[in-house]
Symmetry: none
Amino acid sequence: MARPRSDDKRMAILSAALRTIAAQGPGAATAAIAKAAGVSNGSLFTYFETKAALLNTLYLELKAEMAAAALDGLSTDQELREQLLYMWVHWLYWATSCPDKRRTLAYLDVSDEITTESRETAHRMMAGVAQLLEQSREHGPMRAVPLAFLLALLSALADTTTDFIIRDPAHAEHHREAGFDALWRMIA
Amino acid sequence: MARPRSDDKRMAILSAALRTIAAQGPGAATAAIAKAAGVSNGSLFTYFETKAALLNTLYLELKAEMAAAALDGLSTDQELREQLLYMWVHWLYWATSCPDKRRTLAYLDVSDEITTESRETAHRMMAGVAQLLEQSREHGPMRAVPLAFLLALLSALADTTTDFIIRDPAHAEHHREAGFDALWRMIA
Amino acid sequence: MARPRSDDKRMAILSAALRTIAAQGPGAATAAIAKAAGVSNGSLFTYFETKAALLNTLYLELKAEMAAAALDGLSTDQELREQLLYMWVHWLYWATSCPDKRRTLAYLDVSDEITTESRETAHRMMAGVAQLLEQSREHGPMRAVPLAFLLALLSALADTTTDFIIRDPAHAEHHREAGFDALWRMIA
Amino acid sequence: MARPRSDDKRMAILSAALRTIAAQGPGAATAAIAKAAGVSNGSLFTYFETKAALLNTLYLELKAEMAAAALDGLSTDQELREQLLYMWVHWLYWATSCPDKRRTLAYLDVSDEITTESRETAHRMMAGVAQLLEQSREHGPMRAVPLAFLLALLSALADTTTDFIIRDPAHAEHHREAGFDALWRMIA
DNA sequence: GATGAATGAGGCTTCATTCAT
DNA sequence: AATGAATGAAGCCTCATTCAT
């Protein structure tokens, strides 16, 4: 009945946090974030109880977006290699076309403000990717290692490849393919 | 500025920084580091002009140690695969037996206090590793990618494998081998 | 400003303020009080212009209740000592059986939000008690001191005695009698 | 070997806290206190870890001073009544001639920043007064009540009397005597 | 009238760095 | 050179009050 909590504002804060953290790291001041969001200092805290809460929310949002980006539109009819490639390409596309998001995610991934619980939730968001990985490695040389290990390796590869694409965008496609081939050789 | 007298004190500070940052992250207060070093608050700044300077020094120290650990005692007589394995094993051994150093390095790697120059110097410290990598991939599927990319992939793999060994030390050897096999498949 | 519609709500706020302040001191946030009253944040300010206004109102309410409790049912037929004892017993009974009210009153008594005017009004509410005191001391050793002084002494005694009864309820009656005897010796 | 922590500064802070709290209540900002002490915002915290620590220290300091003022110079040769009177006079003299101290003590006495431990320590500081009280009431009507109760009554009487002297200093002596006579009648 | 989001001024405390001793 | 007190700029968060709905 009162002014409703505006989703716009909430998203403005999240988006401002994204930009500010990408630029200044997770130490960015809440005041800076609020200002970037065009919102008063105190308003930030009506949408997020705590700076840590904001960070965790942002983290989950980004992880979810990344996972969705990687899997959206995937058709399970194709060969596994094609499916994995599809995921790889989309993942890298997302990561390289939203460098702020990727950078912020990288910061948050190592921040000690991110809860174990958030990390677990994020991990669960990768279930689709994990499943694809599971199928891909089923008969390959890594059939016996923990799936989590494999997932971590995949992330590491994707991350590294993204770095290189951003650093040297002229050879984006080249790097992307090299990365994928390496991945495929590793697991299949 | 003449080099301060006591090298002991300098090393005590570096070592204290290592422990303190491992425990509290790169946000650790200089006062906390000084205290851990058994040195006064202000003395820290006669040995390191700035907190950032200390961090960068520590970063380089650790990177150098890591590179040395990976290559020390390597004999170039053996097969390349053996040499690479030697390096892999020693790298992981260092990383898993000095968790503080590794953790601190992980923190510093993403800290924005570390200058580009430091990162470049650190990169150069890996020349030996890079050379080995270069030889190993010479006739392999990755013969055409930038060596830096390969080095980054190696680092990512080593890092991820270390994570898993620390998390699940009972299967250390298993993880180490799985990681190496994956690496070898990737490049050779 | 027309009196707001719901007296219920007004009293709910006062009662919530009572409980909240008893628990958290006069620094209790208006938001906390509103919540405890089951009323919105903003509504509190349609019933009380200001936090200070709320506090002053509560203060007067409690003082009035205390005065009423002390005198209610007093019959002026009895001996003065009996009348004074009656008042003493009822005062202490009120104070010990509504510890929240007493505690809040204690907080407010020293709060600088309570205006001089409120304090004076409160003082006037004790007229009945004062009158009884006046009669009681008429021929006693304190016949010449300002009545206000006497009243203050009475309050101090009552307060101190209440403290002890609350702290050591097993000997409530004992303390109550000791306090009264002391009072009587003092004035009569 | 460095600049020593200056006792002057420490006392300046305590004294500034005294003045500031007397004027603004225990809610006075640490910044205001620091400014009043002619000290930087942060310096306050090298002398007192916390605002609460500062408040507790000030509380104990004042209580000690008050107890000392009440007993200093007391000769145990005199009659008990004379001794008690001596204490009464000196107590009131202290309280009325340092209204800031008294006011601050009153604020702190009810502040929830003051630890139970501080309160107990303060209580122990009144041992001398308590002992005198104990002797005075030995054969009197209050010989059986808890000494702590008696002490609380004494405090209440002293406080109330002080109030009246401050409010009406023209009759200081009058009030002081009336208060003491009341006390003596109460206990002896 | 009721609601609760919006505001922004502080409040307490931390910390890198400087400086007196 | 060594020490640790001094500094003051931030940082996060709270809260009385206002205002859009």
